[in-house]
Amino acid sequence: MNSKADRIILILFLLVSAGLFFVPGFVESEYVLRLITMVIFWVGIAGCWNIMSGYTGYIDFGPVVYFGIGSYVNAIAMTKYSLAFFPSLFLSGVLSAVVALIIGIPTLRLKGAYFAIATFAFAEAMKQITLEFDRTFKVSFFQGSDGITLPISGYDNAFFFYCILPVTFLVMLTHYFIEHSKFGYGLKAIKEAEIGAEISGVNTTAIKLRAYITSAFFLGLFGAIEAYWITYITPSEVFNVQKTVQMVIMTLLGGMGTFLGPIVGATFLTLLSESLGTRFVEYYLIMIGAIIIVAILIMPSGIIGTLKIRKRLRFI
């Protein structure tokens, strides 16, 4: 047990988190604050994907669905039922988790590509349903492609920074917990050999479901926060498969099933897209494609995963 390196990482993680708490007080530029917020936001979201797919090896191609559900629950609760933001935020997380429970039970029996395609299909189906529901049933609920405008918050970027930071902190704390708990060993055992795990007493169904629901709960929170932040949502935007792709690629670049993976991957890619994406718009996606291919070919375990193997590091 590499408990010394472990403790150092935990302390560093807590220090950085605590340090981040003071960032809005020091950063003058709205642009920089917004950028830092985006990085933390993506670390959290990539982390959600890592909790489920990184640790169990079940590749979820539809995590964005829980982000979208969170956005819509929040939007509808605030506009149609005049709920205040924080109760509405909590409700968004809970309902995302409930949907994950209902969908997870049948879906998590599937393996490999079947699970990946099923999750993808569910996410796209939800997008289409929110788009077409009102028109088909002659009601005004999801407001289809017109989208929903949320009440203007009147809050500045710092407010949203303080909404996002604790959620990301909790997501990463969950990672740390996974690395050190019975639950985490169960997840990793499933990834390595599911039948082997089952005959060693791991309740594989329950453990996978727990990871799936946890991930959905946090994604629901992120979706709700973003909806309130940008104040206008449409199905094509919140259920955009591009978000899924981002989560997957960030985690993969950083290292699947590692604590630092989503942090490194999301920071790297967010900053990259910020610097290249604006300057070389036309070539940006070509470059991302090339980076993905090269990264997989030279370090299939991601940056942290490769470090872990080379340096025989453990809990990072």
Binding site: G112, A113, I117, A121, A125, G289
Partner: protein, 290 residues
């Protein structure tokens, strides 16, 4: 039966035949290598563009450009497998999904760079012409494509069943270690398989070019339909692509006729999800479960 219903079913079958043709390659690639090819739609796009440019420059009929599309995409697919995908074949399958996704991004966006976002179409002498039979309209182009599609799917099946290479491919799909011991060059067979899958997909792209909108961004939609067709028919089971294609074609056509086009897309995904959860081996129950 009323004419609207019959027309909807016929439209669905014509559509489904095409779905079958371009999904067969997807199924083949999954069945042999376990690769979910997320760049599948780009193969169709490249096939369609091959036909488009041959038509523009040489006024070659889209149906006659099919062999060129096949050769071009066979080479493309062979090289992709040989130099990129083969390197991750022993790793978890997600690596191949992500690699093909990277490929999708690159190919689609390079195509945008070269050919812009413009929508294009090929206007032939028979574009828009219909055969009127018993009060039903059957567009010539779709009918020809339907026949070609059936022939292609059958041709692929025949190739796999009756030729030496086909046998080697099937042996590799069943047990690559044993195939290796029997002297099959696995890496070469993988490359040939991907090339073959790409070739018939490119061919499909060429033969649908007379009646679809051609643009560098057309790919993703086709990838998703291929997903659905292949799941319905049973993943990795080639004749299943026909069953899946026809089923999906008819379902979509009925939904579009009686509801609206948006609902038809929703139904595609709901069918896909339900099918995976309830019967992942496909309608015929012959898909291979990893």
């Amino acid at each position: 039966m009323d004419a609207v219903l019959v027309q909807a079913i016929i439209n669905g079958l014509l559509l489904g035949g095409v779905y079958a043709a371009y999904s067969a390659g997807f199924s083949l690639i999954f069945g042999v290598m376990g690769v979910v090819n997320l760049a599948h739609g780009e193969l169709i796009m490249l096939g369609a563009f091959t036909s488009y440019w041959l038509f523009q420059f040489f006024n070659l009929d889209p149906y006659f450009s099919a062999p060129f599309a096949m050769v071009f995409l066979f080479s493309f697919g062979y090289l992709v497998q040989r130099f990129i995908l083969n390197r991750v074949m022993g790793l978890p399958h997600i690596m191949s999904y992500i690699l093909t996704f990277g490929l999708h991004l690159m190919v689609a966006n390079i195509a945008i760079k070269i050919w812009t976002h413009d929508f294009r179409s090929i206007t032939t002498s028979y574009s828009g012409a219909n055969a009127a039979i018993l009060g039903l309209n059957i567009p010539y182009a779709r009918l020809i494509t339907f026949v070609v599609a059936l022939f292609v799917t059958w041709g692929l099946w025949f190739f796999l069943m009756k030729t030496e290479t086909g046998r080697a491919i099937r042996a590799t799909a069943q047990d690559k270690e044993v195939a290796r011991l029997m002297g099959v060059d696995i890496r070469n067979i993988y490359a040939i398989t991907f090339g073959l899958g790409a070739a018939i997909t490119g061919l499909s792209g060429a033969v649908i070019s007379p009646f679809v909108i051609i643009s560098p961004e057309m790919g993703l939609e086709y990838t998703i339909i291929a997903f659905c067709v292949v799941v319905l028919g049973g993943m990795g089971y080639i004749p299943g692509a026909l069953v899946g294609g026809l089923t999906l074609g008819v379902a979509q056509s009925l939904a579009a006729t009686y509801l609206n086009a948006g609902v038809s897309v929703a139904i595609t995904f709901i069918i896909l999800f339900m099918m995976l959860v309830i019967r992942p081996t496909g309608i015929l129950g012959k898909g291979n479960i990893a």
